[in-house]
Symmetry: C2
């Protein structure tokens, strides 16, 4: 069993071992993991949970490195987790790579955890929700959940964080992608990155576009106007402003318990998401079902059987087979 006291003292090796336990799919490990989570639950919750998304190349790692050192200099402990459903496909995570955050990786007040490969989106969500609890119990009070925004990953991440930050590139049509995937809609803060010397003007234009787009969107919180900050992690530009903006957001929404209620709502949503995932994978792993599964799915896509009937057949086969 993991040494909870060491964990509570922000011992990074203990925390890492704890998360490895969460990631294990072995049944006995899963039971230990749940016992662990349950036991540290009372020590969790004392952090600002920040979701961060942006296409590959937008500069997430560099920003996290710079912002991370900034918040550590303010006396905080920062944990960086990665949600990357694409790792199932790519067979490995492109996120949370320690080599891309060298100074942060060696700082004892920072904890960086790459995504394990070969996870289902449901597995990613479960692992990350539990990893957040562990990191908080270990005393990390700034948690960044980073995602590259494949499929539903932004929604997943915004469903488990207090504040959602969208990073975009100056020009290059990224702000459009942002809207296309509906993520600007999720944003509590937008960062137009790489506003480096020669790109500064492009970045300012992009920021104006976003601000305009945001103006068309009914705000999630009427008293929080989503800031659009141009920054350059390389030139350390506006990093302090970003951290100030995060704190303003937190202060505003903590004062009247809106973060607390957002978390309660997330926990409820999480419960049903987890339940659906577990049920569906149980069905898919059921042997009798498995045999008819691909055949049924093909008949459905060929329009021979309506989805509604096929679903009933699958479910009754599954539940009777139990």
């Amino acid at each position: 069993m993991l040494n909870i006291d060491k964990l509570r003292c922000a011992d990074r090796r203990t925390l890492a071992r704890g998360i490895t336990l969460l990631e294990s799919t072995r049944e006995d490990h899963r039971q230990q993991a749940e016992a662990l989570i349950q036991s540290v639950m009372p020590y969790s919750g004392n952090s600002i949970r920040i979701g961060l998304t942006g296409v590959p190349g937008v500069g997430k790692s560099t920003l996290i490195e710079t912002l991370g050192n900034h918040v550590i200099s303010r006396g905080h402990k920062i944990a960086v987790l990665a949600v990357d459903p694409s790792s199932t496909l790519s067979g490995g995570s492109i996120l949370g790579d320690k080599t891309r955050m060298p100074t942060l990786a060696t700082n004892e007040n920072a904890f960086i955890r790459p995504t394990p490969a070969g996870e289902t989106s449901g597995g990613v969500a479960r692992r990350t929700r539990e990893a957040i609890v562990l990191c908080e119990a270990a005393g990390f009070d700034v948690i960044i959940v980073e995602t590259v925004g494949v499929g539903q990953s932004e929604t997943l991440v915004s469903e488990m964080t207090d504040m959602f930050i969208v990073m975009l590139l100056p020009g290059g049509g990224d702000q459009l992608q942002g809207i296309k995937r509906g993520i600007v809609e999720l944003a509590d803060l937008v960062i137009v990155n790489k506003a480096d010397s020669e790109l500064q003007s492009k970045a300012t234009l992009a920021a104006a576009d976003i601000q305009q787009a945001l103006g068309l969107i009914k705000p999630r919180y009427p008293d929080w106007q989503v800031p659009v900050i141009t920054s350059s992690a390389l030139e350390n530009k506006n990093i302090a402003e970003i951290w100030t903006s995060i704190n303003d957001f937190r202060t505003l929404l903590s004062s009247d318990g809106r973060i607390a209620s957002r978390r309660r709502q997330q926990a409820k949503t999480g419960l049903w998401m987890e339940t659906q995932n577990l049920l569906l994978s149980a069905l898919k792993n059921n042997q009798e079902v498995g045999e008819s599964l691909s055949r049924l799915q093909e008949s459905v896509t060929n329009g021979e059987i309506p989805p509604t009937i096929a679903a009933r057949q699958l479910v009754s086969k599954f539940l009777d087979g139990k």
Copy 2:
């Protein structure tokens, strides 16, 4: 058993009885319904399936009435179905109300079906998917699935139609709501309604706003630029243009089988949505689970138990209880 021959001859009473059968939750009715759907499946698919959304008061019924008479005059048969998950709350449907489409309701080439009250969103989806099949088998070749856009209803409807139409009001910030709820993103055609005499200029401005917003969005189909049409169902303005635009869309996407593949994808998505709904409701209706359900959910929202663990408890209680 329903008279399939009469159904195939567009007999509206038979069709109505068939849909009533689909809506029944009685187990024996469900089995008859599935036999019915299965038997008419080969005659289905020969229609343009149109999703239509807009806030209450935008003028959906008036437009459907006017557009419906127009397409009937072109030799088509039109069926109007309503998806209204809010009917569970409101206890009754505000949609597909025949009294709001008087001339269409009395036309034998039109079939209008209000939503039954007291359905779950999952139930609505199931019923509508099956109702579409019945209407097509009955020879209705233009199907309009109307929704008021509560919760996930637009996504539901776009998941079961070939073309998604978003209706907005001139000004009044409706185009903003459209973006907020991400539905403009789903739109294949946008109609700014009530462009009546004095509102004409406002409507033109609104249309320009939408066109601009759409310009920021990566199009679903690169070769289909989403049209924004200002119309007045009252003054019968641009109704022919709307129908032309629907046909252009259909021609473009039928030619290379994109509608067919969209339907195959929808059938697959539908299969898993239905399966999840059935599994979740089976779990919720399970007696042993039911007893611990509310208690567990409260502990989760109070942060005493992590969602992941609570979900595991629910699912294993459910599956072992089977």
